[in-house]
């Protein structure tokens, strides 16, 4: 057997074993939750394939999570109605369907919020290169991994899981925010406050269905 063909089958076998042996993500908010497993994404083109084109991922997510889809609706996070420099945070910027993991403090990381895992297998969000703010966890060669805990979507966890109110600011929302008027993770803007609607969950106003833009 040629090496290339052999390698293909090895990769295929490893992938299939990994797939079968991995407890993947499940939607946790709806009583109509749909079990998400390998085939849901990796057979989207027909026959089972192990890799997805990176460009297909957002489209694949939105074909279920977009308007008219079968799952909880969501939209990508971009700078509509803001003066913030152009950005577009797509699904993989915050979520990874393979990371139904514990986080670094030993609790369950929910909503698949985290796009990388750290060296202790904890879930993290890999933020863009730091925008002048403090880098909590620098990555060799550049970039900044900000430690992320997202274990509680309720109001109880609003002040830590969504937008931390005291440094280090590691909430799901403020890990990336460096220029917002509220809940930013740096001290670049002395007028920024960390008390904005701390008794509410961020997404009660900043809907994911509208890209978090209010």
């Amino acid at each position: 057997m040629k090496t290339g063909v052999r390698n293909f089958f090895i990769v295929a076998w490893i992938s299939s074993v990994a797939c079968l042996g991995t407890s993947l993500a499940r939607a946790q908010t709806s009583r109509n939750a749909i079990k998400v497993n390998c085939a849901m994404c990796h057979s989207a083109h027909g026959g089972f394939s192990f890799l997805l084109n990176q460009a297909d991922v957002e489209l694949l997510c939105l074909s279920c999570h977009g308007p008219g889809g079968i799952a909880t609706e969501a939209a990508v996070h971009y700078n509509a109605k803001t003066t913030y420099p152009a950005y577009r945070i797509t699904c993989l910027g915050c979520h990874n369907a393979h990371y139904d993991l514990s986080n670094q403090v030993g609790t369950k990381n929910i909503e698949l919020v985290a796009n990388v895992r750290d060296d202790t297998n904890g879930a993290k969000i890999n933020t863009p290169p730091n925008d002048g703010g403090p880098c909590l966890d620098p990555v060799p060669g550049g970039g900044c991994y900000r430690i992320q805990v997202f274990a509680d979507r309720t109001l109880t966890g609003a002040q830590s899981n969504w937008a931390s109110t005291a440094p280090p600011y590691r909430g799901a929302c403020n890990v990336c925010h460096t220029r917002t008027g509220h809940h930013q993770n740096s001290d670049l803007d002395s007028t920024a406050d960390h008390t904005h609607n701390i008794n509410r969950v961020c997404t009660s106003c900043h809907l994911h269905t509208k890209g978090f833009i209010k």
Partner: protein, 331 residues
């Protein structure tokens, strides 16, 4: 103020009016204040000359937009509350499913200040809210858990609504009274999305994602389920994963022509499949993925104009409505 994106879209399409508007934008102080599709969702026929789409505009405001079939220019725009999705039109009535509130609301075009405002040729008018279909109490007959698409049989005055959450089609009369829902027995709908009515055969066709669970292939593949108006199961067209031509992945909007050809748009594969209603056989496909004019990206719905054979497709992520002239080949 003129909508710059409107001009850009028409110019990109090479539309002569787009070039005219582009000149006017810079040279004149007044222009048509028309809003354009930014995130077009579902589509319905308005009349012989126009189509109707639901949209979330660049201000994240829900709108109902009428587009001229020939020029694809905006005829009028009306603001509607929430996040409009499914849409249907009958006489002066507009049925709009709202994925935010879960209601299907019935409006009529009325004078100013009777509802949210309109612009374009409907300037000075507004959409007046009349009533919601169904009931608002969970578990009550006709309550919607996750409203999705809407279709009408104008002659029989029946309204069909697909509820993705409850996995049912709910049927109402033209007064909004709940009549019945289906299917009540197997085979059931698993993850229904869009709906079409075949008035000729008095059939209801429903796009269904099937059951995607299963390690290497879906437990139940994507399919189109076909029922009689009374809800009796008549058959289905099933996606064939062994054939790249006839395979579909995320079935959304659909239409059926007089000869029994089913037109189905796939949100992920970004193409329109033409399938035989009886055998399920693939006949042909058109459209393809991309970001350029003519391309599709997350297409959610289609409308077949039976008179001209034109097929209109809402391409959600490109913010356009694409027209495939005579792709239905009816004339």
């Amino acid at each position: 103020m003129c909508d710059r994106k409107h001009i850009q879209v028409m110019s990109r399409l090479g539309h002569p009016l787009g070039i005219v508007f582009l000149l006017l934008f810079f040279l004149a102080s007044t222009c048509v204040n028309a809003q354009v599709p930014a995130s077009p969702r579902r589509i319905a026929e308005l009349d012989k000359k126009a189509i109707l789409i639901t949209d979330i505009n660049t201000d994240l405001q829900g709108t109902l937009v009428a587009l001229d079939k020939a020029t694809m220019q905006v005829v009028w725009t009306c603001t509607v509350p929430g996040e409009p999705l499914g849409v249907a039109h009958w006489k002066n009535l507009y049925l709009v499913g709202d994925s935010a509130s879960g209601n299907v609301s019935v409006y009529r075009m009325a004078g100013a200040n009777r509802g949210l405002p309109c612009s374009g040729t409907a300037a000075g008018k507004s959409l007046e809210f009349l009533f919601n279909l169904g009931q608002t109490q969970p578990g009550a007959p006709g309550f919607f858990q996750k409203v999705n698409d809407v279709a009408l049989d104008v002659d029989l005055q029946r309204i069909f609504v697909v509820d993705t959450g409850e996995k049912k089609v709910k049927v109402f009369d033209n007064k909004g009274n709940f009549l019945h829902s289906f299917p009540e027995i197997a085979p059931t709908l698993l993850n229904p999305t869009a709906i079409a009515v075949d008035e000729t055969r008095q059939e209801v066709l429903v796009s269904d994602f099937g059951d995607p669970s299963g390690s290497f292939s879906p437990t139940v593949p994507p399919r189109i389920m076909i029922f009689s108006y009374s809800g009796n199961y008549l058959g289905q067209i099933t996606s064939d994963s062994s054939n790249a031509s006839s395979y579909f992945s995320k079935p959304q909007g659909l239409s059926v022509d007089g000869s029994g050809q089913v037109f189905l748009v796939d949100a992920f594969l970004a193409k329109v499949l033409v399938l035989d209603r009886v055998t399920g056989a693939w006949i042909r496909s058109f459209g393809g993925p991309g970001d350029q004019p003519g391309d599709l990206k997350l297409p959610l719905d289609l409308l077949l104009d039976r008179a001209t054979g034109d097929v209109f497709v809402t391409s959600n992520m490109t913010g356009r409505v694409e027209v495939f002239r005579t792709a239905g080949r009816v004339p």
